[in-house]
């Protein structure tokens, strides 16, 4: 298979479902000769793993985001009402 477009689609699909025999062969063949798609495949794998660090992510990247005073009041009130 010569198409990088198709190969990149199969690479993405392979993260969602097992590839069919024919698809897998075509992709293996393409990756054997195409370093650009090999690179893409590694980058897709890296992006798929980002979620593992999600706690790290929210704490470090969004440290300046906080609940507004109004939101805090609303939430406190809702909690009080729910307790009754």
């Amino acid at each position: 298979m010569k198409s990088c477009h198709k190969a990149t689609h199969l690479i993405s699909e392979s993260r969602e479902r097992p590839l069919k025999g024919r698809e897998r062969l075509a992709l293996v063949w393409h990756l054997a000769i195409c370093s650009m798609c090999r690179r893409f495949k590694a980058q897709v794998r890296f992006m798929d793993e980002l979620g593992e660090y999600h706690t790290h992510w929210t704490e470090h990247a969004m440290g300046d985001q906080v609940l507004s005073a109004e939101a805090r009041q609303r939430i406190a009130r809702a909690m009080r009402e729910s307790n009754n």
């Binding site: 477009h5 699909e13 969602e16 980058q43 897709v44 980002l50 992510w57 969004m62 609940l67 307790n83």
Partner: protein, 198 residues
Amino acid sequence: MEEPKLNPERWLDNHGDDLYRYALARVRNRETAEELVQETFVGALRGRDKFAGQSSERTWLISILKHRIADYYRRRWREMPATELAADEAGDEFVQGLFDRGDHWKRSPRWWFQPRAALQEKDFWWVLNKCLAGLPARIADAVVLRLIEQNTSEEVRQILNVSATNLGAMLYRGRLRLRQCLEVNWFGVPRRKRKKSE
């Protein structure tokens, strides 16, 4: 060893902002994130007898929030018109623009130097957040649920109520776009020129 106990009076102070940030990163809307935090605390209050002390208070609250986030997505997507879903599968100018007539990459993906090292940098996560915020809305939902929340493919299909083909199309487009954005704004940029979070 003492089992962790719940301390609802301290939830807002101890966990409010953390939960808010967690929600905000995933739903990308302040009001929605606030509502989700409220739903989480109220729901946790009502269900506090179910806390078995197997995890910390915060882990337990986050797990409730995760369910609320999934429910939020379910509600949002329940009203999704079929025409919009069909458009997702039809093709994408952005994607088509990446490949030439022979279906090869117009521009080669660049070599990313030590990508895992980026995970330790606050500014990388800020860039990632910006990239996610720049995705078309439906694609962003799919990418957040699958890549960030790390739901399985089947779980995401169930939450969004879409077919495998449709989810596959959205994730394909999302991955190409996200890859490009990370390359343009981080991996392809010399260190000193990378944008810093404010």
